[in-house]
Amino acid sequence: MINELLFMNGYAVYVLSAFSFTLLSFLGLYLVTKMQFVKEQNKFVAKFGLLTTDQANTAKSQRINKEILANVTNN
């Protein structure tokens, strides 16, 4: 069966390269998107750390800001 999969009646080079290209594109897009996400998240945490207590309290009054910080802690 492995021989059949690797040979595919002579079409394996086309089939496997099409599948490989697809999967590598998926991996590339996933990694780039993940990197952008982590970068923005880290930037948020760094900026939050520079806030005064009052500013931090104001920022925390927004639910989304609390969620972002909670996600960083969980990760």
């Binding site: 009646n9 002579g10 996933y30 993940k34």
Partner: protein
Amino acid sequence: MFKLFEPNKIFKITSKAPKYVLFLFIVVLTVGLVEALIISPEDYKQSDAVRIMYVHVPAAWISIGIFSSITLLSICGFVFRNKNFFLISKSLAPSGFVFNIIALVTGSIWGKPTWGTWWAWDARITSMLILALFYAMYLIVWRIYDKEEKVYKISTFITILGIINVPIIKYSVDWWNTLHQPASINIFSKSSIHSSMLYPLLIMTAAFALFSLLIFLMKYNTELIKIKNKGLDRL
């Protein structure tokens, strides 16, 4: 109704969803790959080269679907004056573009053993290439302009122009003599594809749809955090 989908309210869900979508995507993709590469039969004419269909066709379907959604959302953004529509559109575009490139490249790889050439200026291929150019223009506009209103206007204009190309892609095989065969799968009439090939195709389409959902969620969350970063600067 739109208030229910405000970023502040849905971030709790969109920030947690990616890990579950990723898990589901890996499961469905694994099943799809086994079906597509091992279980599904070879074609009587194209032999095993037909297996390229399981990545080529779903990628083309999803890239067209995403572009149509982007157009609809951009128009809704203008009509309802709601920024969230533009944010969703922007987050959908990268995966749509990558699926379009996958469709073009895997189509080219499929063309060599079946048609004897890597590329032909066939109506379907050319219209898919034009769609990729519209995707590229859409993504570039978001990168080069800073003023939101300008980006909204230009990106919506691009999508409206680009959507004209979508029916051309769909009906190109009927309107012109092309190397592509007419559609084998019809929603309203009987499909000419056998179920042994249809099911793997549908499973791979589901896997690809999950992947685009995953990228959309990650990108959407990134955009929201970017906005919140700007908000912190203003405090």
